[in-house]
């Protein structure tokens, strides 16, 4: 608890530094604009605006991205209330009450309620995350596919129970939503499901795998590099870590130097060939 409070004070110390709040404000304004665009949610907004933070130092960039995220989460409610068009998925339900209030001439009140609700819920969830993240992170490492499946089923059952009315219909709609989510790339195998050649759903030859690497700037002293390599190798070869990743069916391998270069070149070549193929399909 004391460590959490210490980290919190450290975080406030950084976030309240000179000029940082200005980036938070700019992020919120831009995020709100992004959130108002139908179909562009917080994650898409952050992905789109990532290049905008390239010129900033890490602190300002992260603060601005956080502002964009929260701005986009709130911005979606504006079009929900005024036009009955949800700006992003989370504000679909705002269309029901918010638009009804706007029709009665209380659009301002609806927007104020949405802003207050967004602030209160955002703050409460951050506090909860701050307190629960460390124990949850330890606990999550023990989770494997059976636990995740059980959690998914629990979520669906709670949803069906909470939604009231017929549980059969609620579960049916949940199944329909999950079926719609099956369209596109399968994250476990990389297969494309039900894409039918639609470019927006992706192409099998241009699929990308996720791998993580640690890079050091050119000119980093050799002793520092050696220490980084040793620490990373120890972490990767840790039995508990390997077991946890094995449960997720994620292979763990440590590559460096020429071995990594060969792996990187092969992956880049494969991806480039796929992208060229997509380009040829696009030009037809």
């Amino acid at each position: 608890m004391l460590e959490t409070l210490h980290n919190l004070s450290l975080g406030f110390g950084v976030a309240l530094g000179p000029g940082v709040l200005l980036y938070a404000f700019a992020g919120c304004v831009i995020g709100t604009l992004v959130g108002e665009l139908p179909g562009v949610g917080p994650l898409a907004g952050i992905s789109l605006l990532l290049p905008a933070t390239f010129g900033l130092d890490a602190t300002r960039a992260v603060v601005m991205l956080a502002g964009i995220y929260y701005g986009a989460m709130y911005g979606g409610s504006t079009t929900s209330i005024l036009m009955r068009i949800p700006g992003e998925a989370a504000s679909v339900m705002t269309c029901i009450d918010g638009y009804a209030m706007a029709r009665k001439g209380r659009a301002g009140a609806a927007l104020a309620i949405a802003a207050t609700g967004s602030f209160v819920a955002g703050t409460a969830s951050v506090v909860a995350l701050m307190l629960l993240a460390p124990p949850l992170a330890d606990f999550a490492l023990r989770f494997g596919p059976p636990e995740y499946t059980a959690l998914l089923l629990l979520g669906l059952l709670v949803l069906a129970y909470m939604s009231g009315g017929s549980m059969l219909k609620s579960l049916g709609m949940a199944a329909l939503g999950l079926l719609l989510g099956m369209v596109g790339i399968d994250q476990m195998s990389g297969y494309f499901r039900f894409a039918y050649g639609v470019v927006e759903l992706g192409y099998p030859d241009a699929e990308s795998y996720i791998w993580a690497g640690l890079f050091a700037p050119r000119g980093t002293p050799e002793p520092v590099l050696a220490r980084l390599r040793d620490t990373l190798r120890l972490a990767v070869e840790d039995a508990e870590f390997k077991q946890a990743m094995g449960k997720l069916e994620t292979p763990v391998a440590f590559k460096q130097g020429e071995e990594f270069q060969r792996f990187f070149d092969a992956d880049a070549k494969r991806l480039a060939a796929g992208v060229r193929k997509v380009g040829k399909i696009e030009q037809k």
Partner: protein
């Protein structure tokens, strides 16, 4: 008699059958290592059972003819507009797509005057392009006409 639940349940079951049919092309995998077809098949089987149960128990629900379709046009228009935006963004470019989308939504859905709709659409499409593409250096699609 056609009721809301019978039609809804039947549609869900039909969709489940289509998903099962289309999943034939994907590897099912094995129990310990499920393939890409495993989840769609499992969900489709669940949806099929639920759809049949909803349809069977739907005799006493509201008749289909009594349903007011007042929201249908609005929902279809938004779905159509979203589909257009998704398909046109790369092909027509950001500005042209956003202009057409916003002009349509403001003019046809919100029933504003043509000059107001056009001014709003032009302002937001070109303004947001300038903000994101020029000022924030986010590469946005330009389409064949550079728009």
């Amino acid at each position: 008699m056609l009721t809301v639940d019978r039609v809804g349940g039947g549609a869900l079951a039909l969709l489940a059958v289509v998903v099962l049919w289309e999943s034939r092309a994907l590897p099912l995998g094995v129990w310990r290592n499920p393939g890409p077809a495993a989840m769609p098949v499992a969900l489709a089987l669940g949806a099929l059972v639920l759809g049949v149960l909803i349809a069977l128990g739907g005799g006493r629900s509201e008749p289909l003819a009594a349903v007011g379709w007042g929201e249908a046009r609005h929902a279809l228009v938004i779905l159509g507009a979203c589909a257009f935006a998704a398909l046109a963004l790369e092909r027509l470019g950001y500005r042209l797509t956003m202009f057409l989308l916003l002009a349509f939504l403001v003019r046809a859905v919100e029933r504003r005057s043509l000059p107001a709709a056009a001014a709003f659409a032009v302002g937001l499409a070109w303004g947001s392009f300038h903000l994101f593409n020029t000022l924030l250096r986010v590469p946005l699609p330009r389409g064949p006409w550079g728009l």
